[in-house]
């Protein structure tokens, strides 16, 4: 019983912390962020396993974590308003060629990051070639080019 409660608490706390941190905090997968993710998983693992290295405990923990994810996906599918709180919504940072300063500042996104995504996905070279840029729920920046 304790493993299940433990896993649920860890799931909930991590969900809240990552939502508080914001979309872009661990989305860039730079070398340092990768290390940070590894350290977080290592830190949590100890508290989650709690010295019980049995197969039963491992299965219980995995089942709880996967089960919670399934449950949340069902809830999100049935009640769309929940999605905006659990996953967040996409955020427009360039709208019809104009940068949205407030959104960029609040979400801590700068032009260089948008250009980097624009180069990678669309081969664009300048900001004025971008029609829309959106920070997606997972923190990725997607770009829609202006029509030639």
């Amino acid at each position: 019983m304790e493993s299940v409660i433990r896993a649920l608490i860890v799931y909930a706390v991590l969900l809240v912390i990552f939502r508080i941190a914001g979309k872009r905090t661990l989305a860039q997968a730079s070398a340092f962020e990768l290390v940070l993710l590894l350290i977080i998983s290592e830190t949590i693992q100890e508290a989650l396993v709690d010295g019980d290295h049995s197969l039963t405990n491992a299965f219980l923990l995995v089942t709880t974590l996967v089960g919670t994810t399934i449950l949340l996906s069902v809830v999100k599918h049935r009640w769309p308003p929940v999605v905006r709180w659990l996953d967040g919504l996409p955020l427009i940072v360039i709208q019809d060629g104009r940068t949205v300063k407030e959104s960029m500042d609040r979400e801590r996104v700068d032009e260089a990051e948008i250009l980097s995504s624009a180069r990678a996905s669309e081969g664009l070279q300048r900001l004025d070639e971008i029609r829309h840029a959106v920070v997606e729920e997972n923190g990725d920046i997607t770009v829609v080019p202006k029509k030639k």
């Binding site: 769309p80 709208q95 029609r131 829309h132």
Partner: protein
């Protein structure tokens, strides 16, 4: 699924009002995280400056240094100081309350007890000490096994025991 809008030709579930609410909550969250870290540094979430405490008072024959806040399964220590003369060489009987012993895993006691006797509501450890003009120090290293309030009662010989409690975080 999501509530889609069309903004400048792009179908998207964008809602700036929701983002503003979320940003406000995020700022509150950051503040809470900072407060938690400050409390941890101060020693309110485990050992630290505000956590250190002593029971028994400076002039008392028995004084116990301990942490008000501990964490489950984390190393902790009681430092018991006997005033000069209390352990007049030879044998000292350290008495620990049953509530304490049953809720912790005692890792070791220095000096090592020669024998242990379980009583009705306390455990009696027989320790050997050398005669010294200074205070005698006994260390009890342990790990709490349950979270919540941990009642601690420490007695030496027939003297009135020192009682206090610790808070153990999960």
């Amino acid at each position: 699924m999501a509530e889609l809008k069309t903004i400048d030709g792009m179908q998207i579930n964008h809602d700036i009002a929701h983002h503003r609410r979320e940003w406000r909550l995020q700022r509150v969250g950051w503040l809470l995280m900072a407060l938690v870290l400050a409390a941890a540094l101060a020693g309110l979430l485990g050992p630290g400056p505000l956590s250190h405490a002593s029971a028994g008072g400076p002039g008392a024959p028995v004084r116990v240094d301990y942490d008000r806040f501990g964490r489950i399964e984390a190393p902790a220590r009681l430092r018991i100081r006997l005033a000069p003369g209390v352990a007049s060489g030879g044998t000292v009987h350290l008495r620990l309350g049953r509530d304490f012993v049953e809720n912790v895993d005692i890792q070791r006691i220095y000096p090592e007890p020669g024998s242990t006797r379980a009583g009705r509501d306390e455990f009696d450890y027989e320790l050997r000490t050398a005669p010294t003009p200074d205070a005698t120090i006994i260390d009890v290293h342990y790990q709490a096994e349950r979270f919540g309030t941990l009642p601690v009662r420490v007695g030496i010989g027939d003297a009135r025991p020192v009682a206090f409690s610790q808070w153990v975080y999960p």
